[in-house]
Amino acid sequence: MNFDFRFKMIEKRLEDINEVLLISSGKGGVGKSILAATLANRISDEKLVGLLDLDLHGPTLPLLLKHRGRLKGLKDGIDPVMAKNIKLVSLGLLTASKPMPLKGEVKRDLIIELLSEINWGRLDYLIVDLPPGTGDEALMAVRLMAKKASAVLVSTPSPHSIGAVKRMFWLLRGEGTKIVGLVLNMAYIVDPRLGVEPFGKYDAEKIGKEVGIKVIAELPLEPEIASSVPINMEKLSSEFRKGLEKIYQAVREPQQIW
């Protein structure tokens, strides 16, 4: 027999969550965690937001949000920590800075355990920072939350990154996950003296056509984020904040969902 009772627990946990927003790319180093953290900050101004860090090998959200608290174990599961008004869960809170040599099947199992154990309570949005790549853990996370999930894809304008995001696009399509749109991150540098596009000149419309999905925002490479922890929303450039607004708008009122 040997059936997994945790799937029932996950179903129950998801009942109180209105929407799961997967921040995904298919490639590391494109700024998923920063987008997840800043978007969570923005949306939490007016909604109940949870933030789940599923980057199992390199969890960074506790660092980005400068949180060193401990998760709380209670009778009905584990309570997230509060990072300002965001409910946060990350394995970084359980493993400090230790290396995480986790293997395929164990990672799948860990994702199931995390989703079954965390007691989020009622949420408008659960924002999930998916692990890079299209491996076991990304696939498992997408599948377990499929009923409530939509995805925001993130990429730099680099052709290497676009190639990876296309793979993620097809994986999500295969799982039947709704896709809100593509965000081009680190697309340009906000400095009129420089006028630099660090990954070369790009054409957002052309990239959108290549991936098969609309580009909903182009975000600048943000020196403030790179140099300060925790992220200070007040100090973000107006271009970055406008980009976040566009993403939030697309999440609230998707024009076209794949």
Binding site: L71, E113, E117
Partner: protein, 147 residues
């Protein structure tokens, strides 16, 4: 403490199973992974208490511990959880404990999958370890009786 949320998950699944099969659960075998340090008596008590309110009154719960066993993929050494128990207790609580009402609990209690973050091969020191037993808590079997 974690025993109660596990019990709630098991009981919820059994209640659904009863409904789906239109049958009554009589006996359930639960295998507890030793790595989690789940207390068997507390789990059994929680199963009975929660089961009573979910239409599972009178179910016979058999709860056994599955031994934690490891194999080092670098040097091939095999060993069991008891040999590393004290070492793990200290290390995993120190910086990474989960706060419970009566003190700090090891993260392995909730997430035994994290064992390789904290464990090294006692022979060669490698972290390249396979868990070959005692990881998960699972329903291993159930006997149902038609209504």
């Amino acid at each position: 403490m974690h025993e109660w949320s596990i019990a709630a998950g098991i009981v919820g699944s059994l209640a659904s199973l009863q409904k789906e099969r239109n049958a009554k659960v009589r006996k359930v075998e639960v295998g507890v992974g030793q790595l989690s340090g789940i207390d068997v008596d507390t789990l059994r008590y929680a199963l009975c208490s929660l089961g009573d309110t979910e239409g599972l009154k009178g179910v016979d719960y058999s709860v056994t511990i599955n031994e934690g066993r490891f194999k080092c993929l670098k040097c091939g050494h095999e060993w069991n959880f008891n040999e590393s128990r004290e070492y793990l207790k200290e290390i995993s609580k120190e910086t990474c404990g989960v706060e419970e009402p009566d003190g700090l609990e090891s993260p392995l209690h909730f997430f035994p999958q994290l064992i390789t973050v904290f464990l090294k091969c006692p022979k060669c020191g490698s972290s390249d370890i396979d868990v070959i037993g005692g990881m998960d808590t699972v329903i291993e079997g159930a006997i149902l009786e038609g209504r």
